[in-house]
Symmetry: C2
Subunit: 585 residues, 2 copies
């Protein structure tokens, strides 16, 4: 082994205490010691309830997807329930033969990733001590090269509830080319894997879905399972309520943003432009803004929707600085998602041209000569530091190298130029604008995971096992009903936040006491628990069914029939495409 | 009031809990409810023990300093003791007439600053409810303009144990020019202040010393007291063991550095160059290195002592990268103190030239035309971004604007260039060198203060009161014997840290449980407790005195005389200048 992956680590006192923390399992996954131990292996007895076949979020895409994924499209939702749950047709899984499972990190490290491995290992060993879990060393490169480390309790001991991906590491974060897919299949076959678990975000789970289909076509017996682990928080939809790592990242970043806000209030002389890691979507920036109440946050989705240009955004920022100066305020905090650069139409077009030229094999040094006149004019307008960053080779998912493009510096530069211009023209009469720029990302994603992420990841690891024990391929592990019992209502405070400084400081990440169990605001908002509400609906339907049985009074039947007829009619209309064009989130 | 200073703040749950935390006082400052309450005001009864007159750390400077500070040089050390302490000649302070005190923030905000105000307010009110504490709004600018806020329990309620300086704010951080000193004296007289407390670092406490002398000369009755509050940790000597804020800053930074180390281990593809706020001295970098074990740390003091040039440092870094590459390691973490730029001889000389030209009123745009040929050659060699930063106007203490000079980027740039050269020449055969740069400072100094800083600052506030109650001018408040009972020995692990990755992660700042009471390593090292050891010596002397009394046996007297004669002789030689040229730390 030529790297440090999987070596035992020396832990600090706090890390040691965290290593002893045992996450809770939901009741359905808890180990039951049954009286008739001869009937079952000691372990959880889980029922699987297969729900309706799933479809695409956008019905327009259903046809294309179903054609591309003939073996894995439309599979039924699988719910894991307590053995004693009274759900008709639920299938009890009693057989737990030993199985061999491989697990790999693919994508940006996200706090909690190690606990998925721990949870899966724990579930495997509880059900059959002869089961084997192999970790691939060095991410997908290790998968292609069949470099493995057998996961044991000893190996896990200094990685339980710890941050980073250093138990197994990550490298290419891609299983896409024919060569990569073939190498993966060869690895699964050579290692006799019953299951392959891929820990990652949007791109890696897309790769996992494609891999599952390819394996099914090739009659490869290895089942593929994906786990939503991504600090970006962008693998969210009606099925996946949360992503492992998002909670921690938002808490660590919010602490730092709040410290900067306090700093701004103390000296009142700087504007802080803070760019936040989180890829294209602005989930991290949104959550951090809800946690820490900075003066402004620019959301990529809003910029896209309003088709704001660079100059529009600069003008908005300058007008805000101007308005604050009228109140004698020369400080402020502005959050910027790292993906903003791809949300601004003209910059996105420029990046597309650059990436196209990269694809044609043109070297970065020469690309500017090949740009279209329009793109070239924009490129030449930009300051040199950002030009160099825009010319970087795109990432494995064809997006720009967002972590390397200092959008916050570009905006600060443009705002400073514009404010100086207004000062010179006499339209602005305040003090000189001064900005300090930050990029928060690397310093958060290696953090000790929060309690939420420890628990969530561990439970997802257990679920991976049950998916494999049920023989399912092309599934993703999720947990529902994560939201807080108390829903908080969010109001638009934008103009208050802009002018008044109502900064909020959640403080450093705690594992006990106030704040230790705080959930992210975005998880606490109403109507998040899609699956829970579907379950509730099914309970209503069952109730009606149990009331309206042969022998029930005529008027009950009549009322039920009339109500159900009208509901069915309304829902049929609503489910037609015209209503459905809008996504569920 | 045209700013937000002193407004009540909305606190998060964790902040609320912290606001309820009551720091402990050392026994000598605790409130004693005495049986004879008619004799004393209810409050602490403190004895003041005046020790020897103090001198300068460097005896060579004593003469110059004594001439410049005729009224305040050589004042005796004042110890505050329990009323019951058996120290001969200690003076009991029983009178506590109402007094009026002003307090001002001067210098970079440092976690715990608010608790000095709270401690002073609490001590004032315990001893006489009619005493008044006035906070100057907007730092020294507010002092000159006599803008005050009366400190009350209500005002303090949302600032107790909270970070930042936003209760009063800070601005110019300077009381130096004749105009500034006169404005300060005018403010003290107009507001009838018995005392002025200045909260700040090296520069502000130097200003405070000068102010005390000036007030003494002018027979201004306001007494000046300084408090060592600086995240830089550089106001340390045999009397001042620790600075308020240093503990917190090192803990917050160490957490972030450790997260970055974990990140480096997980993806193994980047070198992280992290610059740390802390001014000229490298105390913060040293402490953070001891906490988190990065691969390398460059200490300004070592660079100065060895007169390393930029090229020497670059070469050292490249050789380290090279050595790690031979072990297939392409990641690493390097800490750089922000003051490094002033420790490198040729850059310091260049900065001195630039500052000299600033002083002559030459604008930044034209300075490069006026540089000496040698300085000009260096200047032109540097990349444009750093040139712009070096040209910034110097700070109030004539140092460069260290927070704005991206030394970490300059080093990463030079290392990359050199590694690319070695790659081209074939002397280096590893992967391409990739660096990510960070500056940690603003995101730490607004943090909630650690328990240590909460306690230490609060106690210092109490001591400020006792200094004023004793009628002393030109004193600084300190607390001794802060170090941990268990001393840790530090070993030089540099080569192990460099190649092996023995990163350590103290985790996020905690207020309970493991790590909450951890002290900084630099405070835990042996022979730190200078004042405690002086006390111990005095106890030995007293013991000898009490044994060798008239009536003691002849042989006891003989042994004592002979021993003391030889000790006195040795110490006389050692105390002569030849031995003493070296500083105490």
């Amino acid at each position: 082994m030529d790297s440090d992956y999987g070596l035992p680590r020396e832990l600090s006192d706090l890390q040691k205490e965290r290593a002893l923390y045992q996450p809770d399992l939901p009741p359905c996954l808890q180990v039951l010691v049954l009286p008739s131990v001869d009937l079952f292996e000691t372990g959880t007895t889980v029922r699987v309830d297969f729900g309706d076949g799933t479809t695409t979020t956008d019905p327009a895409g259903a046809h294309v997807i179903s054609q591309a994924f003939p073996h894995t499209y439309g599979l039924p939702l699988a719910h894991f329930l307590r053995a004693t749950s009274k759900v008709p047709d639920a299938q009890i899984i009693t057989e737990h033969p030993p199985i061999r499972v491989g697990i790999v990190f693919s994508g940006r490290q996200s706090p909690g990733g190690h606990n998925v491995i721990w949870g899966l290992h724990s579930a495997l060993k509880i059900h059959n001590a002869k089961s084997i879990l192999l970790g691939f060393l060095g991410g997908t490169d290790g998968l292609f090269a069949q470099k493995t480390l057998e996961i044991t309790d000893e190996v896990l001991s200094s990685y339980k509830n710890q941050g980073g991906y250093d138990l197994l590491g990550r490298t290419k974060d891609q299983i896409r080319t024919t060569e990569q897919v073939n190498a993966t299949m060869a690895a699964c076959q050579a290692l006799k894997l019953d299951g392959l678990v891929i820990i990652g975000g949007v791109t890696s789970n897309t790769d996992a879905a494609q891999l599952a289909e390819t394996f099914a076509v090739a009659k490869c017996t290895t089942k593929v399972v994906g786990v939503p682990v991504t600090l970006n928080g962008d693998l969210k939809n009606q099925f996946v309520e949360a992503n492992v790592g998002f909670d921690t990242i938002c808490k660590v970043n919010s602490q730092l943003i709040s410290n900067v806000c306090t700093d701004a209030l103390s000296a009142e002389k700087y504007y802080y432009f803070i760019r936040l890691m989180g890829r294209k979507a602005s989930h991290v920036a949104l959550e951090c803004a809800l946690q820490s109440h900075p003066n402004m946050v620019i959301l990529g989705e809003e910029v896209s929707a309003s088709k704001l240009t660079f100059f529009d955004i600069t003008k908005q920022l300058c007008d805000a600085v101007h308005a604050r100066a009228k109140q004698e305020k020369y400080h402020g905090v502005v959050l910027i998602p790292e993906g903003l650069v791809e949300s601004i139409p003209e910059l996105y077009a420029l990046l597309q041209e650059i990436h196209g030229l990269h694809g044609q094999g043109i070297s970065a040094d020469n690309i500017s000569d090949y740009l279209s006149p329009w793109a070239s004019a924009l490129f030449e307008f930009l300051p040199p530091f950002i030009r160099k960053q825009l010319l970087l080779h795109p990432e494995s998912d064809d997006s720009a190298q967002l972590s390397q493009i200092e959008t916050e510096k570009l905006l600060a530069y443009l705002v400073e130029a514009e404010m100086n211009k207004r000062l010179k023209e006499g339209t602005y009469k305040g003090k000189k604008f001064n900005a300090i720029c930050h990029f928060f990302g690397y310093q958060a994603r290696g953090s000790l995971p929060s309690k939420f992420d420890c628990d969530y990841a561990y439970v997802l690891g257990h679920i991976c096992y049950h998916i494999l024990a049920a023989g399912l391929n092309g599934y993703m592990a999720t947990v529902t009903n994560l939201k807080s019992p108390v829903h908080r209502l969010l109001r638009s405070n934008a103009s208050k936040f802009l002018i008044e400084d109502i900064y909020r400081n959640p403080g450093p990440l705690q594992f006990d006491g106030p704040g230790a169990d705080a959930k992210t605001f975005t998880l606490s908002v109403e109507d998040q628990d899609y699956m829970g509400r579907i379950k509730l609906l099914q309970e209503y339907l069952e109730k009606v069914k149990s009331i309206v049985k042969p022998g029930c009074p005529q008027d009950v039947l009549k009322a039920a029939l009339s109500s159900m007829a009208s509901i069915t009619e309304v829902l049929t209309v609503m489910a037609s495409s015209s209503f459905n064009s809008q996504g569920p989130l």
